[in-house]
Symmetry: C2
Subunit: 414 residues, 2 copies
């Protein structure tokens, strides 16, 4: 079955805003075995909306609108779809009460323009919105002789998601032939995309009934596996077979076997090993600490650390000897090691991490070019330093460096 998603709103046709609801909806539809074949964005214009609805109903079996269900004159999705279907709108008493109650609960009186949010397409089911005033709508049946499902959802992402989950997913599943789709995501750190693909393409291509997608970010490659079968177990067995074969090839470069983030996996290993970590960051400026603490509960294994942007602070907060900085330069193997060792001692952590480098775009020299970063990991078994020259701009270099540092800790613990 094929679906089409139409995002409504003139703000989505500016340079500043994007429709992100369609990513969520695509994931949900794919899991039900429905493919998305068109996505579009239409402004708050009745004529354009009617045309878009007509085209969509002509060519796609499932049509989902997001947005344009609010109370203002610009909110025209209801009217446009009614015109495209050739049906009228009826004011739904139950939904009107729901909207009035939402206002009353906040001690406000509902202004009259809000009543139009209770207008429902003739033949449609109104879907109560637990997080906002505008209800969703579901209508299915034959239009111009074609069997169609049409869903209207509110634009705010948290309303759309809750409403889809509560009211649409099972309704859709009931309309579809039983299909079980299983997915797996492997994540790999600090290898290049072409290198990874060259190694694993022969493997995943041998699994004909598994669809594999490779996505690359700064320092991270994701391998998405998807398969459809008659039973959930069969679908899962297929993706597991492909993912396991790929994982065997990539070995310990795979940090995540089920889509977890590197930050989560790092926390998992630190807790597993009953270990704590502290960081001394120069070029990353706090990014490494920020990423580690993005995980709730990270205070159990993250002690803290120092942002040592100036040479004096490398000495003052992380105990790096001033003459070492003088002799080797702040961006050096020696200073990285001293940062890791010093912050480990200072913070009484099991592991200490030091990062120093040239994030650019200025500050590079022939010997120490932009992108050069030293990453050090100190433990009771000694200190390891990895030197890398990263490509890209300041943001990308800092992202690479923080990923490299976290991955060193992960490999130490696993």
């Amino acid at each position: 079955m094929n679906a089409e998603i139409i995002a409504v709103g003139s703000e989505l046709l500016t340079p500043f805003r994007m429709d992100t609801n369609s990513l969520y909806l695509t994931e949900q539809l794919n899991q039900l075995g429905v493919e998305v074949v068109f996505k579009s964005v239409v402004g708050d214009d009745l004529r354009n909306l009617v045309a878009a609805a007509q085209h969509a109903l002509f060519r796609s079996e499932v049509v989902i609108f997001s947005g344009g269900l609010g109370p203002t004159e610009d909110d025209l999705t209801r009217e446009a779809v009614a015109e495209a279907l050739g049906v009228s709108l009826r004011r739904d008493a139950e939904m009107l009460t729901h909207i009035e109650q939402r206002f009353a609960a906040r001690g406000w009186k509902m202004s009259p323009n809000n009543a139009k949010q209770a207008d429902v397409l003739e033949g449609a089911t109104a879907l109560a919105n637990a997080n906002g005033t505008a209800p969703g709508q579901w209508i299915s049946g034959k239009f111009d002789g074609r069997e169609r499902i049409l869903i209207l959802l509110p634009g705010p992402p948290h309303e759309l998601k809750a409403l889809f989950e509560a009211e649409c997913r099972e309704r859709l599943r009931a309309k579809l032939p039983p299909a079980f789709i299983a997915t797996r995501v492997l994540k790999v750190a600090m290898l290049g995309e072409s290198h990874v693909d060259a190694r694993v393409a022969p493997i995943y291509k041998s699994f004909a009934d598994v669809q594999t997608t490779i996505l690359a970010g700064a320092g991270e490659i994701q391998l998405h596996f998807k398969s459809r079968a008659q039973t959930g177990e069969a679908a899962q067995a297929r993706v597991d077979a492909a993912a396991d074969a790929v994982e065997e090839e990539l070995d310990d470069a795979v940090f995540s076997r089920n889509g977890e983030s590197l930050e989560q996996i790092l926390g998992y290993w630190l807790q597993m090993r009953n270990t704590t970590v502290a960081v001394a960051e120069s070029c990353t400026g706090g990014l490494l600490g920020e990423r580690i603490t993005s995980v709730s509960g990270s205070s159990r294994y993250f002690k803290g650390g120092a942002i040592v942007y100036s040479n004096e602070l490398k000495t003052e907060l992380a105990g790096v000897p001033a003459d070492m900085i003088e002799r080797h330069g702040a961006v050096s193997r020696e200073v990285a090691a001293a940062l890791a060792e010093g912050i480990r001692y200072r913070c009484e952590a099991t592991l200490g991490v030091g990062v120093t480098g040239v994030a650019g775009p200025t500050g590079g020299t022939p010997e120490k070019p932009v992108g050069l970063v030293f990453h050090a990991l100190a433990s009771d078994s000694g200190t390891e330093v990895i030197e890398r020259k990263f490509p890209g701009d300041r943001k990308r270099i800092r992202l690479f460096a923080s990923t490299m540092a976290m991955d060193m800790v992960r490999k130490k613990l696993m």
Copy 2:
């Protein structure tokens, strides 16, 4: 004049990828006075692409395709547009040579499938691509009696941008009535969107020839002003009048008068005042340092600081008395102030910033709920503390807290 943008590629119909080229193209078109009225995404399917091209040519004066110009069987934009226009494709000898030369320059032999990238629509101008093999195409004229401009651009963003700038912008400008568009962006920190809009809507609405858009993020509101006139000066004068009137109302809440980021503005003021800053971060975990150091050259005014996730480190690195933490709790007005003062002293900075709070989702109590954050700024004139209760999830609370802290420093200096 109205435009429509069609992004081509099945990968853009997965949950993992978005079309971002259309944001760039929209900005460029708007600056030429062209409004974007539809955006769509179509997969690598000939029938769907032909239908999309036909609809677009019927309803929009400028139609831009991005993607689907590569060498593989999946790259079908050329063929689809040819079919929609009812014209044939000719192999362009000059473009073929260009493609062969790109391969030769890398010491590779061109494989035969690459030749199809030199196929150009009958009547179109091929636009040489300096950053890739696939040329762009430009065709204008009457289709079904309607005057239309059709542009094909390669999908990779850096190729698309370079090609649009080098080959399309002036060609489009020559087709348009002379229009000069000026824009201004004001940014406001730490005020609510509805509060800002209530104060400034009566003002910007009085400038009938200026289009104003309000965008809200965590702790930041952007006001975009746009105006079109017969001369650049007239357009600029209009947006300046509206922006200045709005700025007068919002006063020092406006941190940016021309679109600069808070991080850039903070760096500007710190350098203007010949001042340095150091940070002691608890709940933000490094985010504040990371944001300040996201600006190249920030080592001139940012000394560094401490990430003090544990109570011991608040004492060890920032000199907060242990009994103060015991007495008031780590999340308290007193500890925030002591963090700011301690780190200022320790780092020998002009200004010290301390942040402590409950980022959640766990760790909240009735007295100290999730979202409660204390922000302190210490200077030689004393220490100021601001207490806030932020809404949202962990990420949003940390973003709010870091913005609040930076904005305190800005206000202190301006």
